[in-house]
């Protein structure tokens, strides 16, 4: 028996396992710290005024109403456009394309878009919308968000449709139903919870997106529901307020940050619950 070797091996084992416990602690520590600051600072800035008043000039009272409304409007439009496109494209990949080369290529480009830098998407929309319209607009902002929604929905839709057992499709075919009918009333229905999960995740993803909005929707200090004009959004307002030297703007930025984070966390938890219910 070589007890020195054994002792050394046991020590290495202990040290590295301890390090990996430390790694998990490291990750959780950051989450805890960030949430803690958000809650302390965010609740400090939160008041009913945040939901009822417009963004103020520095030094006076105000809220975030126009920014909240802008974020909701643009996210809604983005999902409205992005979801059908994403679901249909995902359906093609899972039902018609599956093993074809074309589908493989589409899948590849979709995965690239899924992780492409969102600021580049912003530049793309700037080139095709803002330059042609001559000014920044909510439409351009919503389009840039839609471009971010599409790949997320495509990916989850395809994955969820692939989980639907083939025997369901075969049963439909045996009854003489055409394929489009089977897709719409059998596979889509079977995968519904999963597809909704994907849409929720996409909403979570865009509700914090800032970079593509900076030069598409720009920002707006006042209330605006005109889609052809610049529109405020929570992330853009947070960016502007946090980078400013004014304390009351900082407080509003923290309140906005708290709102966004809780929206996003609530959405991802809802998505998770939906997913675990399905399993």
């Amino acid at each position: 028996m070589n007890s020195v070797l054994y002792a050394r091996r046991r020590l290495t084992d202990r040290v590295f396992l301890l390090l990996s416990v430390g790694a998990a602690g490291f990750g959780l520590l950051w989450l805890g710290l960030i949430l803690y600051t958000l809650i302390v600072q965010g609740f400090g800035g939160l008041s009913p005024k945040v939901f009822t008043e417009m963004t103020p000039p520095p030094g006076s009272d105000g809220g975030l109403l126009n920014a909240i409304a802008g974020s909701v409007i643009m996210s809604f439009l983005a999902v409205l456009v992005g979801t059908p496109v994403g679901v249909l494209a995902g359906t093609y990949l899972a039902e018609y394309g599956r093993h074809t080369r074309l589908a493989g290529a589409i899948r590849f480009f979709n995965d690239i878009l899924l992780s492409a830098p969102s600021i580049v998407i912003g530049l793309f929309i700037y080139e095709i919308f803002v330059i042609n319209m001559g000014h920044f607009s909510a439409i351009a902002g919503a389009s840039s968000l839609a471009v971010i929604v599409i790949p997320v929905v495509v990916r989850t839709t395809e994955n969820m449709l692939l989980l639907v057992p083939n025997s369901l499709r075969e049963a439909g075919t045996a009854l003489g139903a055409p394929m489009s009918f089977i897709i719409r009333s059998v596979t889509w229905r079977a995968a519904r919870a999963g597809i909704v999960t994907g849409v929720l995740l996409a909403v979570a993803r865009i509700s914090g997106e800032t970079a593509p909005l900076l030069f598409t929707a720009l920002n707006n200090q006042f209330w605006s529901s005109d889609l052809g004009q610049p529109m405020a959004s929570l992330p853009a307002v947070i960016f502007q307020f946090a980078m400013s030297p004014y304390d009351d703007w900082h407080r509003l930025a923290w309140a906005g940050a708290l709102l966004i984070t809780f929206t996003v966390l609530a959405l991802s938890i809802a998505a998770r619950l939906l997913e675990s219910k399905r399993n």
């Binding site: 490291f26 039902e95 992780s115 492409a116 489009s180 030069f215 946090a242 900082h250």
Partner: protein, 327 residues
């Protein structure tokens, strides 16, 4: 929909109904195909729009744009070296921290963690990925940067003051904001991507291999290091590349804490800039015929770099999937 067709046709004409089915089928198929092709069109559109937008800058500066450090909006002389350097350095440092820690988390989750805590802890780590980057930015600016400025950075400067090479890496006044802070924030942001992919591939390692190693008397660490990790190497590398792709393109968090200075400093504590931070900071204020095109050309370079990284990550992970399918 198609189901009611049989009743509405009155006297049942089989041929007509089947023809109707066929037409509806073809229409639906074309519709889904069009949506799928739209994805490719968007990708190509992004590329085309960036090239078109950057064209004046490409024509004016040519290839030397890539290795020119000067960035002067007044004289309209632009070069991309500082932002490219900043992007690569912050991402590299972030990977240096996030890869070992991410793998550590995956080992903890698959081997050490009691079953009852597995789910909550992995969900908590994944929540880190869900927090929007602007939140990391505001937190980094108001909490992390002042903290680093008053504690860790002066300490680093003191400790390495007399060590060659390292002293120039950690030199100068502790600004708080700068390359180091940006890299640290970035590493937290990509951590969940690495740990999630790594955990998934660790779990695909066949229990028989692990049991065989345990049977030979291996310790848990030896099993991880000599059996599980080599088995899942391709997946770990693929996951890390995916995270690298994210890190390269990350914008808002970095914009807050990097200081936006177009210069290359040896010191990691000095302010710098990255491609995405430069675009986010300067785009709406850019005037002149070459300023905006130069920023768009930066975006084009970023798109190109991330494309290379993400594409190789995809290929790697896909080959892995294909190999898994054959078993």
């Amino acid at each position: 929909m198609a189901g009611i067709a049989l009743e509405t046709y009155g006297t049942y004409d089989r041929a007509r109904t089947v023809r109707g089915f066929g037409r509806g089928d073809a229409r639906f198929r074309v519709l889904t195909l069009a949506a799928a092709l739209l994805v490719v069109a968007i990708f190509l559109g992004v590329l085309a729009a960036l090239i078109e937008g950057a064209w004046p800058a490409i024509k004016a500066f040519g290839l030397p744009f890539l290795w020119t450090e000067k960035w002067n909006p007044v004289t309209e002389k632009f070069g991309a070296l500082a932002p490219i350097y900043g992007t690569l350095v912050t991402s590299f440092l972030a990977m240096l921290i996030a890869v070992p820690v991410g793998i550590g988390i995956a080992i903890f989750l698959t081997e050490i963690c009691p079953n009852a805590f597995k789910r909550p802890i992995s969900i908590a780590i994944e929540l880190l990925a869900g927090i929007p980057s602007i939140i990391y930015g505001i937190w980094g600016l108001f909490v992390l940067a002042p903290f680093l400025q008053s504690t860790i950075q002066p300490w680093l400067i003191d400790v390495f003051a007399n060590v060659p090479v390292l002293s120039s890496l950690f030199e100068g006044p502790p600004y708080g904001i700068g390359v180091f802070t940006a890299a640290l924030i970035l590493s937290i942001m990509i951590l969940p991507f690495i740990s999630a992919v790594t955990r998934d591939v660790f779990e695909t390692a066949p229990p028989m291999l692990k049991e065989a190693a345990y049977g030979l008397g291996c310790t848990r660490w030896e099993v991880m290091w000599h059996v599980v990790l080599p088995y899942s190497r391709a997946g770990v590398v693929g996951g890390a590349m995916l995270a690298l792709g994210r890190a390269l393109g990350e914008t808002m968090a970095i914009t807050f804490v990097i200081g936006n200075a177009h210069r290359i400093s040896a010191s990691l504590l000095a302010p710098g800039t990255t491609i995405s931070a430069a675009i986010a900071n300067e785009f709406t204020e850019a005037l002149g015929d070459l300023y905006v095109p130069s920023l768009i050309e930066l975006g084009l370079i970023l798109f190109f770099i991330t494309f290379l990284v993400l594409a190789s990550a995809q290929l790697m992970l896909r080959r892995l999937e294909a190999a898994g399918g054959k078993k």
